[in-house]
Symmetry: C2
């Protein structure tokens, strides 16, 4: 956010930022939630990491602004964005700036195929969502809020399928749940939970391989990517 370019104490400035999550394997090979951040190159919080975003242009809709600044700063173009929340506490710059900025924040999930940062720069990087440094403004709180929304949505939507191929094993689905929730789940309980919700169905195929009893493949019962 280039909030230092237009200082004003008269009216709050409006910015639009985006929290994006993907799942990637960590050093132990387990999936873990990651989010891209952009290093600020001007005051306030110069040199600190922040969510991708920028000031709202007068001729841009909110979601258009989110997509636009996201593309410009990270190269990411998620298939959908959803509005998360407007953050506007008077003290969210923590005294680092006299300017009042209200941020309307979007969030998105991207699958492995979409998660390439087209911007190759030391100022744009993926971070593990639960191991963030101290971010600019109240952006740590914003990521926490987005994590809460994601975890909540996991319970009552098909959101996990954004991270999976069209056909997947229950073990793969459970791995996504474990990565998002940040804790291990009992395989038996997980199988019963999934079967009781009716969100997946057997494809009739099994995972190709050399195992004696290859695991069954499943698919989501409604379109993957739906989040409402």
């Amino acid at each position: 956010m280039s909030i230092a370019t237009a200082r004003s104490t008269e009216t709050p400035t409006l910015a639009v930022s985006t929290v994006i999550f993907t799942l990637r394997p960590n050093d132990s090979g387990a999936l873990q939630l990651a989010t891209p951040l952009v290093r600020r190159i001007r005051a306030p919080f110069e040199g600190q990491w922040a969510l991708p975003g920028g000031p709202l242009q007068v001729n841009e809709d909110l979601a258009t602004s989110a997509s636009h600044t996201l593309r410009d700063t990270t190269g990411l173009e998620p298939r959908y964005l959803e509005q998360l929340y407007a953050f506007g506490s008077v003290d969210r710059a923590g005294g680092a700036s006299a300017e009042r900025v209200v941020s309307i924040v979007y969030w998105a999930l991207v699958g492995a195929d979409e998660a390439e940062l087209a911007i190759d720069s030391e100022n744009v990087q993926w971070f593990w969502a639960d191991e963030l440094p101290r971010l600019a403004f109240d952006h740590n709180q914003i990521v926490e809020y987005a994590l809460g929304r994601l975890r909540n949505k996991l319970e009552y939507s098909r959101i996990a399928h954004v991270f999976l191929s069209e056909a997947f094993t229950l073990a793969q689905l459970r791995e996504v749940y474990e990565a998002v929730l940040g804790r291990e789940l009992d395989p038996g309980n997980f199988r019963r939970m999934v079967e009781s919700t009716g969100t997946v169905e057997e494809t009739g195929e099994v995972l190709a391989g050399t195992r004696h009893r290859p695991p069954k493949l499943y698919r989501a019962t409604i379109q993957a990517g739906e989040t409402k």
Copy 2:
């Protein structure tokens, strides 16, 4: 919103508005959802009804601004407000104003005890939420969005209890559901649904009166007013 007082084509203006619902008996004696509106006294949309709200002051938090303008315009002071959504389409004034306004909208429910408009004016009135006139800006859409959120929340939260006394009959609870959902519900199915969710429990008392078989009284199993 006094958006005509400070015109700018440089940066969007930020306003905070609030949708409040209450339940009141209509002419047939059935409960119906009502929302308070304020008549605009300046351009654009002069003379048309609009949601209570106003421009965000630089020294006010978002929820504080919502409470403050709500109190000033309607006299209402709901026990809690929750952020609904930020509305910011470029064309939301429909050509009636050159100024771009982004509205961060809050919503609230008020019980009968809180629903008195302290401002006695022909420019502040309650309307039935499903019989609104053409409102200023995109405020009809905003009320529709708030209705959707309310109806959705009814399904998985204790929100109905905001409209009830501490002890209530299942018929009274069903009347609230019917008013919010805008359709009649089968009493037997409703009873089974409520019993299966465990959101209410018997108080051990019955409704005082002269009937031979007075109906049982229930209470919410967690604090009324909780909405998450």
